[in-house]
Symmetry: C2
Subunit: 141 residues, 2 copies
DNA sequence: GTAATAAAAGACAAAAAGGTCTTTTATTAT
DNA sequence: ATAATAAAAGACCTTTTTGTCTTTTATTAC
């Protein structure tokens, strides 16, 4: 479903939401170490997210990555779509060039249902709310 | 979710179920042309399926690929697991090394729920039955 | 204004996935 | 037996994805 890059990015954003804030910015090193992902590789992903204003950053001492108020309001879906492209959620699971409810493949409707459910999770809540849920329900990232 | 290889393989098996039989074996060329997939690449996938007894083949004139009675009884799931490995259906959607109902990631339950849905389609019916359904409901492969 | 810090940028490298082409082997129809 | 056929096998090649390392740029604390 999601590329490794995308998984790293999602987790990093959630990590930022859970452990950082505008006053306590986090460096790539910390995030990478905590999430167990390759540091320099993650750095590029964060840069990409930063360029797309899904996360914020400042350079220099006491600099790092964080989520500003606007960032916290966006959905994880944007992170996914920034990294894996917007088609992730609607390409045919059998790889057919055309596959729709009018012209479905054998897996179409189940796949659709599947994706709707996932979309609900990554889009239904703001990052902020998702982070809250992660804390409350003691989920792992 | 599924690799390209896996998609090609699934479609090819369904194509065999729909268009061939023990008396009318199909060559890679026909299958590849019809499904619009790279011929030699598909050939290897079919070889792999054949080795694993998910499809049958004979060499030489009037030879080709087909499904014997046993093959028709198996599920698409086996095809998937032969090509993409058995873990496809239970690796964490966020890529976490441990992610279970006891120790879930934020997407765990939704991912589980809908993977079950997909499993139902690829495992709930024999190839034969699935092919029947494709015919009846005029689905695309 | 200088040194230290941390992200940004960019050049490579390694691994995996996807794809092509050629040779070999088995089968069958003649 | 032989020629023709089609899968099996294997050697490569290309592209994409993933990962590493180095240099540059911006910021801040002193």
């Amino acid at each position: 479903m999601f590329s490794k890059s995308c998984k790293y990015a999602m987790r990093a954003v959630l990590y930022l939401a859970l452990n950082g804030n505008e006053e306590k910015k986090l460096g790539v090193k910390e995030i990478a170490d905590e999430l167990n992902v390759p540091k320099h590789f993650l750095a590029k992903l964060l840069q990409q997210l930063s360029k797309n204003q899904l996360i914020s950053s400042t350079k220099g001492p006491s600099g790092g990555f964080y989520l500003n108020d606007q960032n916290k309001e966006t959905s994880l879906r944007k992170v996914v779509e920034t990294i894996d492209g917007p088609e992730v959620f609607n390409t045919c699971i059998l790889g057919l060039p055309v596959c729709s409810s009018e012209n479905p493949c054998p897996l179409h409707f189940k796949a659709l249902e599947y994706r709707e459910g996932l979309l609900e999770v990554v889009e239904g809540k703001k990052i902020e709310e998702l982070a809250r849920r992660i804390k409350d329900e003691n989920l792992t990232i």
